[in-house]
């Protein structure tokens, strides 16, 4: 096995020479992270694959609602060098489309279906990307989007049971009513008692 730090150096040169990197970060001797432009991703993956990174370990997204962007994350691995490479690229959040990487890594098929289901990203080139995978009959915005409100969804989908009748042990000395009144008053003081 070759020295792992020199592996990192080799990949760094390779990537730096071929692509305009927005950011590059060496996380440790086994992990390197690059931020690329969206259009460079496919070329970068091909280059990496032909350089021994045969395995696509992971494909997922990060939602950045304030930037109106979704960050795509691809992690590829080289079994001979024990090295993981993360590729990051941001795409538009309102119309999230990312060409499929199926021709490069056929194993991305299910990852892309999952990413579509949880983040709403479309993957043209993957014939099945919009087929249901995990969430049966999902009828809301993709649940991993940060503006998805799990509480509201639970309220909509599941009845709320009142556990009080079965579990509550209360009496006249209950402190709850006073506590609630006090809290309401204190909160009213915040806006000057008038709204």
């Amino acid at each position: 096995m070759t020295n792992s730090m020199s592996n990192v150096g080799r990949i760094n040169t390779l990537m730096g020479k071929n692509f305009s990197l927005i950011d590059a970060k060496i996380i440790d001797q086994y992990q390197v992270s690059y931020v690329l432009k969206k259009d460079d991703i496919h070329r970068a993956l091909s280059v990496l694959k032909s350089n021994g990174f045969r395995q696509l370990s992971y494909l997922s997204c990060v939602d950045w609602p304030n930037d109106h962007e979704i960050e795509m994350v691809y992690i590829v691995m080289n079994w001979d060098e024990a090295l993981h490479i993360q590729l990051h690229a941001r795409i538009d959040r309102d119309n999230p489309v990312m060409d499929s990487i199926l021709p490069i890594y056929p194993g991305a098929k299910y990852y892309e279906r999952e990413a579509h289901e949880f983040f709403g990203v479309a993957f043209p080139g993957n014939p099945d990307y919009d087929k249901q995978l995990i969430l049966e009959g999902w009828d809301d915005i993709p649940p991993m989007r940060k503006d998805f409100d799990p509480r509201a969804y639970s309220d909509k989908k599941f009845t709320k049971r009142d556990p009080k009748e079965n579990f509550e042990v209360t009496d006249k000395t209950s402190k709850r009513p006073r506590q609630e009144r006090r809290e309401e008053r204190a909160n009213n003081l915040r806006t000057g008692g008038k709204k």
Binding site: P150, R151, S154, D155, F158, T159, K160, R161, D162, P163, K164, N166, F167, E168, V169, T170, D171, T173, S174, K175, R176, Q179, R181, R182, E183, R185, A186, N187, L189, R190, T191, G192, G193
Partner: protein, 662 residues
């Protein structure tokens, strides 16, 4: 070309090789717990006994299975309910749980029809009582059976822990934002305030640690709106915070510095980490509120809308507390104070390095500004008679405190160099104000302080400062009956006092003040074996063989203070019941047998400043109940009506500590 490779039709014969192999299917009873095995048994047509045998396979480590909650540890804070993304958790009141400081009588109930097993509730649990087990199988035909109140045992069985939070997943910030203190060498030389106070950034950071669980509130003698004003800091709403604070405490600047902070002792974060710096956050609001913001608290002049007047004797915490709330409720209030400055123990007891005059001024100026008359330099019994008050006012409140030094009756204690704490401390404050010069206070080069409470530390640390100014070096020894770990004084005092060079001789009882040629030379100590006898009464026992003599040219006695009732006329004294120096009165401070007389503070309950404010507030409520019915009332605005309502509504209840709950 076909999508599938052509294969021999005999290929399926290969499955035959499995015919004689043992199946790898896992039987149900290897998965199910006893209850579920029983359920399966009950619901199957063929009932065989082996269905009842259950020895479930253990799930993986970190499995996020069904919850367990140890009720002994759980404090009902409800943080799990707040964080639950699916609203699966509901806090249900359980009055059968014993009431205690720093806990709600409530426990979580989980609806497993909603729970998504995300474990956020475990990661945020303040006590780590809520855990997730490795149990993941549960079945029932009744949907209501999926609403479960977790207990230490899962379905009555001890089960293995699954998901356990670690440092990375713990969502609470257990470390307090550090407070800047004055440098030791600098502070020893002067009476400059030690605690510098939080900046806005630091205050917000500290406020962000609060989980708003509200368990602290019941431990505060005045039940301040603690989580709410901390939230106001976080949202940078100083005015809102100030209004919330004044709802329950008219001396916030003082309390923000020297309160005994029972709230912090019962803080939920303190179960595993460092309590939220509630006291300093309160101080931050007061310090950063400009004087003109105070106008917003009471946005209408409080005129005397009720034709009844109250005299208050003593402008200490209790007296000012009563005065403030009586005024807010619409009464005419006059406060009589013997000393030249209002504030009582705040002005003449606590040293300036803990509580500077400016902080007291800010609080008292506001109380004055709403129309409370404070007559200083007026001692009842000398400048005005008690009988005069009785004829002029409809009710009288006494909050005269414990201001007389309590003596120590040992050999040699009758000497001019044996000094009581309350003789010494007022002089120190007057020195800081420039009313006395250094030569007016007789502090010798080496001294011994007897006592282990906050007052003893006030004496020791003030004397250190005076010695530094006078001699350039300090020599202060402190001795107490209690050992270092059981000192009644706060931990800060012990640590800071030690930093300032105080020598501790804790766990010893004073026996004799040594003298030579008429001069005090030291103190003879015997080791203290125990302070209380088997009945819990104060009755210290000493070991004569463990004797030591510590040297000092002066001995200061700070073993408690006593009341001064000289101003009360004798015929009134006969009607009052005194119990160990305190006056007997009901919950609202109304003295038995003397209808129009109310008392509060040290002479009723004690032991600290904020309990005095609480007594004052309760007495204001009691006085209102006593006077309101028969007094003439003016028509009032909606605002004043509301203020009156909430002054009554916020009347403090007794804290668990005051009720004697440990």
């Amino acid at each position: 070309m076909s999508k599938y490779r052509f294969e021999s039709i005999f290929n399926s014969w290969r499955h035959l090789k499995y015919v004689l192999k043992k199946p790898i299917t896992i039987p149900f009873n290897h998965i199910f717990t006893k209850k579920n095995a029983g359920y399966l048994h009950d619901n199957s047509i063929i009932k065989t006994k082996d269905k009842l045998i259950s020895h479930p396979r253990v799930a993986a480590d970190n499995m996020r299975g069904f919850h367990t909650n140890d009720w002994e540890e759980c404090i009902g804070c409800g943080t799990c309910e707040d964080i639950c993304p699916t609203e699966a958790i509901t806090m249900v009141e359980r009055m059968d749980v014993k009431e205690q400081a720093g806990a709600h009588q409530a426990r979580p109930v989980i609806d497993y029809g909603r729970c998504c097993f995300c474990a956020l509730c475990v990661d945020t649990c303040t006590t780590s009582s809520l855990k997730m087990s490795k149990e993941y199988v549960y079945a029932d035909s009744d949907p209501d059976e999926f609403v479960i109140m977790p207990e230490a045992l899962w379905l009555g069985e001890q089960v293995e822990d699954g998901w356990v939070k670690d440092e990375t997943s713990d969502l609470l910030d257990l470390k307090r934002v550090e407070m800047e203190h004055a440098d030791i060498d600098d502070r020893k030389q002067s009476f400059v305030e030690i605690v510098r106070g939080y900046s806005k950034e630091y205050a917000k950071q500290e406020a962000a640690r609060c989980v708003e669980c509200n368990v602290c509130t019941s431990s505060c003698p005045v039940q301040m709106h603690i989580p709410q004003y901390i939230k106001a800091i976080w949202e940078d709403d100083i005015e809102g915070g100030l209004r919330q604070i004044y709802e329950t405490n008219p001396l916030p600047g003082v309390c923000g510095r020297v309160c005994t902070h029972n709230c912090e002792t019962s803080c939920a974060i303190a179960v595993r980490g460092e309590a939220i710096a509630i006291r300093w956050l309160k101080r931050y609001i007061i310090d950063s509120a400009p004087t003109d913001m105070y106008n917003a608290i009471i946005n209408e002049p409080v005129s005397e809308v009720i034709d009844a007047s109250v005299a208050i004797v003593g402008a200490g915490p209790a007296g000012l507390g009563a005065a403030y709330y009586l005024k807010v409720m619409g009464y005419k209030v006059d406060v009589y104070e013997e000393m030249p400055l209002a504030g009582g123990v705040m002005r003449y007891g606590i040293p300036a390095y803990r509580l500077p005059d400016e902080a007291i001024d800010k609080d008292i100026d506001f109380i004055k500004s709403i129309g409370v008359n404070i007559h200083t330099n007026t001692r009842v019994g000398k400048d005005i008679t008690y009988d005069q008050l009785e004829t002029d006012y409809d009710a009288i409140f006494l909050g005269t405190g414990f201001f007389k030094p309590r003596g120590l009756n040992i050999k040699g204690s009758d000497h001019e160099d044996v000094i009581g704490a309350m003789e010494f401390l007022p002089k120190v404050r007057d020195f800081e104000r420039g009313k006395l010069s250094l030569s007016d206070i007789d502090v010798k080069e080496s001294i011994v302080v007897i006592g282990g409470g906050d007052v003893a530390f006030d004496v020791a640390r003030s004397a250190t400062r005076l010695q530094m100014l006078k001699y350039g070096k300090s020599d202060v020894k402190l001795t107490s009956l209690e050992n270092e770990d059981a000192l009644p004084a706060s931990m800060d005092e012990y640590i800071e006092g030690g930093e300032e060079g105080i020598e501790f001789h804790c766990g010893n009882g004073p026996q004799e003040i040594m003298q030579k040629n008429g001069q005090v030379t030291g103190l003879r100590l015997w080791e203290c074996l125990c302070i209380f006898d088997t009945e819990g009464k104060f009755n210290p026992e000493f070991d004569q063989d463990c004797e030591k003599i510590i040297e000092g040219k002066q001995v200061y006695i700070a073993i408690g203070q006593s009341p001064d009732y000289e101003y009360i006329p004798n015929q009134l004294k006969e009607k009052i019941t005194f119990e160990r120096g305190k006056i007997k009165a009901d919950e609202f401070g109304q003295v038995e047998g003397v209808e129009k007389l109310f008392v509060g503070g040290d002479i009723l309950r004690g032991p600290d400043l904020i309990s005095g404010v609480a007594d004052g507030h309760r007495s204001a409520q009691g006085i209102d109940a006593f006077l309101y019915e028969n007094a003439k009332k003016e028509k009032v605005s909606k605002n004043i009506k509301e203020m009156r309502l909430y002054a009554k509504e916020n009347t403090p209840e007794f804290t668990p500590k005051q009720k004697g709950i440990k």
